[in-house]
């Protein structure tokens, strides 16, 4: 059975305190792993797609990495505006995304 588990559920960081969010997955035949950011009252906003182990993508203070069993979203020197829920999803089947339940990040000034 396809499974995506994100940890921690919630994370509070001081501004400038770097950390990592984890997404572990069990799927038959990974066809892409996606990271999204979701702000309250908004839809998920696309951040990154990763396809193969060893791949890395960066955008501003965020860097996503992928291994055969998990993905990490590294946040370097976060700012309060990085506060959001970060969702991980894996592509299964033809075009379905299977989402984890997210990590709620709060960055305190």
């Amino acid at each position: 059975e396809d499974q995506v588990t994100q940890s921690p559920e919630a994370l509070r960081l001081q501004e400038g305190e770097s950390s990592s969010l984890n997404c572990s997955y069990t799927v038959s035949g990974l066809r892409g792993l996606f990271w999204y950011r979701q702000d309250p009252g908004k839809g998920p906003e696309f951040l990154f797609t990763l396809y193969s182990a060893g791949e890395e993508k960066e955008k501003e203070r965020l860097k996503a990495t992928l291994t055969k069993k998990e993905s990490f979203l590294h946040i370097t020197a976060p700012k309060p505006e990085d506060s959001a829920t970060y969702l991980c999803a894996v592509k299964v089947g033809a075009n379905n995304l299977f989402f984890g339940t997210g990590t709620r990040l709060t960055v305190i000034p």
């Binding site: 996606f34 908004k42 839809g43 998920p44 696309f46 033809a94 379905n96 995304l97 989402f99």
Partner: protein, 114 residues
């Protein structure tokens, strides 16, 4: 560029009433998805279309839910009769039919069934 547009943004209705949620995908996108988000279950795929045809509706309770896409720029998700357990945020998303293209989400409809 206009993103995915959903209406209404909020809907409050009584149990047993019919509810219709609407979605306008990004122009030119081939895929359209309907998701439901709750605190307990997170984001769950209900149904998705490719070029207006239903590809997978296995996540949708078919006794009360129905989804249509009469043209490339409009889709509806209907619930009849609605129940309190249907209370959730419903998202519509669309994407291009190309490898690696992400799904782009609307801002959702917050549905409350009393």
């Amino acid at each position: 560029d206009a993103g995915v547009i959903q209406s209404p943004r909020h809907e409050v209705t009584e149990m047993g009433q019919e509810v219709t949620l609407r979605c306008k995908p990004i122009s030119g996108h081939d895929y359209l998805f309907w998701y439901r988000q709750t605190m307990m279950q997170g984001l769950e795929l209900l149904v998705y279309f490719n070029n207006k045809a239903v590809m997978d509706d296995s996540g949708m309770p078919k006794d009360r839910f129905s989804a249509k896409m009469p043209n490339a720029s409009f889709s509806t998700l209907k619930i009849q009769p609605s129940e309190p357990r249907d209370s959730a945020v419903y998202f519509c998303a669309s994407s291009l039919d190309r490898v690696g293209q992400p799904q782009h989400f609307g801002d959702g409809t917050r549905l409350s069934i009393l």
